[in-house]
Structures are given as structure tokens and as C-alpha cells.
């Protein structure tokens, strides 16, 4: 019997999905026959980019699907999947996020209508999330309750999938939200990409170089106050550097892939592992001219932890663009976020990046809980301070983000009471037992930072970035959202 491992819209189209390649590798290593099917990229080609991206608002629940669109989706599923199903198969669906819920429901309905005896397993991060904002059950439970799947794997799937295939359904994470983290990531087989047609993907470089995901670690070494990653992955686990490098080398030798994107919350969490990986890659680059290029999320560290030759090594290994949570121009606010690096540390690392040809992309959060006018001025100053690095193409862009939003299961959530934070009520987000708009908050301890003031500061920041010609990601899109937000505040005021 063949195990079909399916990825579904909506995912990135720029690289083959790593999630299904990971499960395929685990099942294959245990002796099972597998076949990966990327319905996401097939759907992209079936409907074309315009229709594909038009449906984003449907997957993100911003609008209802039209009859015509629903017809196309179901037609696609029937033609490209149901009609091609082997007689005996087991289906494993990777649900990456809430944006995959709608398609998964369409797919599972058709599978069960075609043959109710086909066993369907769903897994992925998305299965733990509620299907609607008013729901208390997970998406996985919703599917089971509606007989749209037989089993759900919660949490990491590599070991649980094999256990389920072996009919050991008592393993943690199978049909129960009691999954355990895998301690030794080095023991896992490398993702298996043998079923993928690499020519299908919409690679980001002009020359369409093949690009793969790499999973180097899970969790994070930091516990930034606004972040919920530690809630999902309490323990930070990482692969040894040579283990990661060997996977990249294998993909290069087997498929000619030299570009990689790390899915890690930070790819330099363990300096020992990171340096080790760079040493192996640098040596391979030198001997084989592989010209590896890899990118991902990255943390800046205090400069006394980073000798100059560290950056030369990263560059020699193929380090390319690093996405860094700079968040603010205020050292004080960054410290309060629990990010232990200063503007001086940033100066040093930017200069080293410039010297060695490394690039970075700034990620920002504006309007932090304790931000004062002085802190805001520090953020405004950074655009001139680091403009040189934009000019040198060291800083390739900035994501100014939305304003600070409270997430559940974060240190910031625990500060709500002590800071006297209250929210405008709405149906957008869940904080504790309340349905709130988690971005519309005020704090008794920082009364000057009203919602209006935060919006004003956010606009000033974008204005300043434009004045210094910084490349802003999603610049117009975010401003349009603020326009709606500002208008809704005005409407609420006028109602009163």
C-alpha cells in the first residue's frame, strides 16, 4: 500500500515543501512505500498565479469563496488527485496553518465521498489551531468529529508518523494534544525530495536557481517578551553543524541545489553548531566551488561574543541574507524586550556584514508597551544612523510591521495585569477568556501611549524611512490597513 503525503494550499510556491519531505523520509526509513504530492504547486499551475493569489483572501478568511471559485477548486481536486488515486493507499495531509483549512476540508470531503474506507491522517502545526475564532476545539478534532479524517498527529511528526503506520496509536501526539518534543534531531533522516518536480517551483532568483528549506533547529534560545515560540517549543533543540552541512551537501550533489532557506526561529542559536556548519560548508565551497547561498532568521549578539574572523567564515560558507529582529532604535526598549544587544552591537555587526558582503533585513515592532517619546525618537534616528548600510546594500530592506500586538502564551501576556493593560473589545483575538482586538490596547503605566499615539508614531516611522530612502517591505499594504484601522477608531468615536 502506498502512503501519499500531501501538501495543500496555501503554502509558499518558491520552494518544495519540507514538511512532506520530512514525513516521507521517516516513513521510507521505516520500510514504508511513500509518494509526495504537492497539491499546492499543482494548484498554482492549474489556475495560474493571478487566480492563485486572488484566493489568498479566501484562505485567510477575509472573504467567502465564490461559487465559481469553489467549482474550480473541486474540479482541480477531482482531476488532479481523486481520479489518479491508486486502489490502495493511505493519505497523510500536512496542514501548515489556518490558511490550509478550507482546502483541506474540500479535499477530505472529496476523498471520503470517493471512498470512505481510505484512511486519512492529518498533521502539521495547523491541526492544533481552532478552525474558527469562536471554536474551542482544534482543527484536527474538528476533522475527526466530522469524519473527514481518521487520525491526527499533533506536534512533531517524524516519530509519531512511523508509530501510527505501525498501528501504535498510543504514542504521544496521536489523536491527543499531548505530543512530546524530539530530543535528538540528529537521529532523524534527511528530508526526502525524490518525488518532487523541481521545475515547477517559482524560485526567487532571476536565474531561477533551485532553493530548498533547511530545518536546523526547533525553538529559540531567547524568550523575547512578545514572542510565543517558546510556548510551542519550550526546549531549544538544534542539529550538529556537520549534520546540517551534510544535508546541504547531499542536496547539492544529488539535485544541484546550492540555495537554502532556514525555517529556524534563528539559525545561529547555538554558536558552536553554527560555526561548525560554516566550517564544513566553507571547506566544501573552496574544494568544490559549490557557491552555497543560505539565508534565514538570525540574532545579533553583543560584539564581544563575535571575533572579526567569524564573519569571514560565515561569508566563506555562503551566508547570504539574514532577517534580524532589530525591533526598535532604543537600547532601553530592546533590553526590556529581553533582546540583549545594543545599537553599538548593531553598528559593529553591520560594519562586519558590509566588509564581508553579508546582507541583512530589519524586522521591527513599533509601539512597545513601555515605549516613551524618547524611545520613539531613538527609533526615528536609526534611519539616518544606518542609512549608509542601505546604500551599500548591506541592509536590503525593512519590515516596519504592524504595531505591537499581544499574543497568547507570551511573557507580554503575563504583564497585562501588572501594567494595567486594557483592550478595546472585538472578535479579532483571544486573550485569556476575552475576545479582544489585541492591537488596540492601552496601559495604565504608560498613559501617553494611547492607540492614537501609537498609530501616529508608526506613521512617523514610515515617513522617516521614506525620507531616508529605505526599502520598505509591504509598505503600501500596511498603510492601507492602518487607514482602515484609523477609520474604524474614528467611527467608534463618532458613535459615542
Amino acid at each position: 500500500m502506498i502512503n501519499l503525503i500531501i501538501s495543500v494550499p496555501r503554502l509558499e510556491t518558491h520552494r518544495p515543501p519540507v514538511s512532506t519531505a520530512i514525513i516521507a523520509a521517516s516513513l521510507k526509513s521505516a520500510g514504508y512505500m511513500t509518494q509526495c504530492v504537492d497539491l499546492n504547486i499543482e494548484f498554482y499551475h492549474y489556475v495560474g498565479p493571478e487566480v492563485y493569489y486572488d484566493l489568498d483572501d479566501v484562505w485567510e478568511n477575509k472573504r467567502a469563496i465564490t461559487d465559481q471559485e469553489e467549482k474550480i477548486v473541486n474540479q482541480f481536486i477531482k482531476e488532479k488527485f481523486i481520479n489518479l488515486l491508486p486502489k490502495e493507499c493511505k493519505i497523510w495531509i500536512s496542514v501548515f496553518s489556518q490558511n490550509s483549512f478550507s482546502f483541506t476540508i474540500f479535499l477530505t470531503k472529496q476523498i471520503k465521498a470517493h471512498n470512505s474506507n481510505i484512511e486519512i491522517v492529518v498533521g502539521g502545526i495547523g491541526v492544533s489551531t481552532p478552525p474558527t475564532i469562536n471554536s474551542s476545539e482544534s482543527f484536527g478534532k474538528y476533522l475527526q468529529r466530522n469524519n473527514l479524517c481518521n487520525h491526527v498527529i499533533y506536534g512533531e511528526g517524524e516519530i509519531a508518523a512511523v508509530k501510527l503506520a505501525n498501528n501504535d496509536i498510543l504514542y504521544p501526539g496521536i489523536n491527543k494534544e499531548n505530543s512530546i518534543q524530539i530530543s535528538d534531531l540528529n537521529s532523524l533522516p534527511f528530508p526526502d525530495y525524490s518525488d518532487f518536480d523541481f521545475n515547477q517551483y517559482d524560485y526567487l532568483t532571476e536565474s531561477k536557481d533551485k532553493d530548498f528549506y533547511i530545518v536546523g533547529s526547533r525553538g529559540c534560545v531567547r524568550k523575547c517578551t512578545y514572542c510565543d515560540v517558546p510556548a510551542y517549543w519550550p526546549k531549544y533543540r538544534f542539529r550538529n553543524g556537520d549534520n546540517i552541512a551534510n544535508e546541504m551537501i547531499q542536496n547539492y550533489e544529488k539535485y544541484g541545489v546550492s540555495r537554502f532557506y532556514f525555517t529556524d526561529s534563528l539559525l545561529n542559536g547555538s554558536m558552536k553548531s553554527f560555526n561548525n556548519m560554516c566550517e564544513v560548508l566553507a571547506k566544501y565551497n573552496q574544494e568544490h566551488k559549490a557557491n552555497f547561498k543560505w539565508s534565514g532568521q538570525f540574532i545579533f549578539r553583543p560584539m564581544n561574543q563575535l571575533p572579526q574572523n567569524h564573519f569571514d567564515l560565515v561569508a566563506a560558507a555562503g551566508g547570504d541574507t539574514f532577517y534580524v529582529g532589530i525591533e526598535t532604535g532604543s537600547d532601553k526598549i530592546r533590553w526590556e524586550m529581553d533582546k540583549k544587544f545594543t545599537n553599538e552591537d548593531i553598528d559593529y555587526q553591520l560594519e562586519e556584514f558590509k566588509r564581508t558582503g553579508l546582507k541583512c533585513f530589519f524586522l521591527m515592532i513599533t509601539g512597545y508597551l513601555t515605549e516613551t517619546q524618547q524611545d520613539h525618537q531613538e527609533t526615528l534616528k536609526m534611519f539616518k544612523r544606518w542609512q549608509k548600510y542601505v546604500a551599500s546594500n548591506t541592509i536590503t530592506g525593512i519590515d516596519l510591521g504592524t504595531m505591537l500586538t499581544f499574543l497568547s502564551n507570551t511573557p507580554l501576556e503575563k504583564m497585562i495585569e501588572s501594567h494595567g493593560v486594557t483592550f478595546l473589545l472585538s472578535n479579532e483575538d483571544q486573550i485569556g477568556n476575552l475576545r479582544v482586538d489585541a492591537s488596540s490596547w492601552i496601559s495604565e503605566k504608560n498613559p501617553d501611549l494611547t492607540v492614537k499615539e501609537r498609530l501616529k508614531r508608526r506613521i512617523e516611522i514610515q515617513n522617516r524611512a521614506i525620507r531616508y530612502n529605505w526599502p520598505i517591505w509591504r509598505g503600501e499594504n500596511r498603510l492601507n490597513k492602518f487607514l482602515l484601522f484609523g477609520q474604524s477608531l474614528l467611527d467608534k468615536q463618532q458613535e459615542k
Binding site: 509558499e12 510556491t13 518558491h14 498565479p49 493571478e50 493569489y53 489568498d56 517559482d202 526567487l204 532571476e206 541574507t321 532577517y323 533585513f361 542609512q387 549608509k388 542601505v390 546604500a391 551599500s392 546594500n393 536590503t396 530592506g397 525593512i398 492614537k452 498609530l455 501616529k456 506613521i459 514610515q462 515617513n463 521614506i466 531616508y468 530612502n469 529605505w470 526599502p471 520598505i472 517591505w473 509591504r474 509598505g475 503600501e476 499594504n477 498603510l479 492601507n480 492602518f482 487607514l483 484609523g486 477609520q487 477608531l489 474614528l490 468615536q493
Partner: protein
């Protein structure tokens, strides 16, 4: 006025004499003899609109019987040549050497443009630039990137390279937002 530092790193190849590089920023000009490796370091205080010109000036093509290109009589190949290799151009510590192949080397003698940062003929590059200088440099990069066409079909939201959007629309929205903010109590 903005303080501008210009650093040109160049190396010369000797043939009869060392090549000479003439550099001018607006009305201020200097000529440098380029022997092997040299870093020319100049500072100015400049207004908004400026022009940088630089080029080789002393290559001889037979004047007074002097040829600064030596050719093997039998094979016809060049065995020595006077030229200047421009290794780097930095303005306020930012390299703009990659801009060079976007400009035309004006020369009476050079029949075609060969963009390898090497000046083989008498002539000049002419680069108009404005201050604030970093704004100009970033603007040029934006222009060159757009000339290389960003694939608009690639998803705007996943494509981190798609950052050089038009500021005009953003400024219009900011203006609308400011009006709304004035009304919010």
C-alpha cells in the same frame, strides 16, 4: 552642503609612461599618475547637484611616433598596453563600482563599450549625482534593480525582494492618515 569623501582605488599598467587619471568634481579637478596600485582620497563640501568625471588622458596613439600599445608584428596581438584598472569607487565609504557599467565612457577613440572597469582609451565617465548622497546612491540601486525587472507575478507577500515600491502612493496614504488622526480625540 554635504561633506563628501571620494576614494578611487586604481592600478595602472606601464607602457612608455604610467597612465594618468584626470578626476573632476564640479569645477575642481586634479590629475594623478597611476603607478601600480593607488588609492586616491579626496574630500569636498558639495551642494545639491554635482558632476563627477574621471578618465584617462595621456594615452598616445602615434603622436610624435609614440604608441602606448605595443603589438607583436608577427601575430598582431597586444603585448603591452597602457591602461587603468578601476578597482573600486567609494563615496562616503559606500562602494559604487557596480554603477560603472551603467554609464557610457565617452571617448573619441573607443569604438565599443567594454564594461570591465578598465580604461583603455582617453576619455571620461560622467556621473551626475545629488546630495544627500546616500539618498542618491539608494535611488540609483532602486533604478538599476527595476531595470532588471522584478517578477510581478511572484507573490508580493512572500517575496522579500519586492521592497522598492513607489513611495508616492505611500505618502498619499500617510497624508490621509494624518487627516484622520487629527480628528481622533
Amino acid at each position: 552642503m554635504e561633506k563628501i569623501n571620494l576614494k578611487i582605488t586604481a592600478s595602472g599598467n606601464y607602457c612608455n609612461t604610467w597612465p594618468e587619471l584626470h578626476i573632476a568634481v564640479n569645477n575642481i579637478s586634479q590629475t594623478f599618475t597611476i603607478k601600480e596600485d593607488i588609492v586616491i582620497d579626496l574630500s569636498f563640501k558639495l551642494p545639491k547637484n554635482n558632476t563627477l568625471t574621471f578618465g584617462m588622458i595621456n594615452k598616445s596613439f602615434g603622436k610624435n611616433g609614440i604608441w602606448d600599445t605595443a603589438i607583436d608584428e608577427n601575430s598582431g596581438s597586444i603585448v603591452n598596453d597602457k591602461f587603468i584598472k578601476i578597482k573600486d569607487i567609494q563615496i562616503n565609504e559606500v562602494s559604487v563600482i557596480d554603477f560603472l557599467d551603467k554609464y557610457f565612457y565617452q571617448s573619441d577613440q573607443e569604438p565599443i563599450q567594454i564594461h570591465d572597469q578598465t580604461l583603455r582609451f582617453n576619455g571620461q565617465y560622467s556621473m551626475d549625482f545629488t546630495t544627500p548622497i546616500y539618498n542618491w546612491i539608494i535611488g540609483q540601486r532602486k533604478l538599476f534593480l527595476q531595470q532588471n525587472t522584478i517578477n510581478k507575478n511572484q507573490s508580493y507577500f512572500s517575496n522579500y525582494k519586492n521592497v522598492y515600491a513607489d513611495y508616492d502612493n505611500q505618502l498619499k496614504i500617510i497624508s490621509q492618515l494624518k487627516k484622520i488622526l487629527k480628528k481622533i480625540q
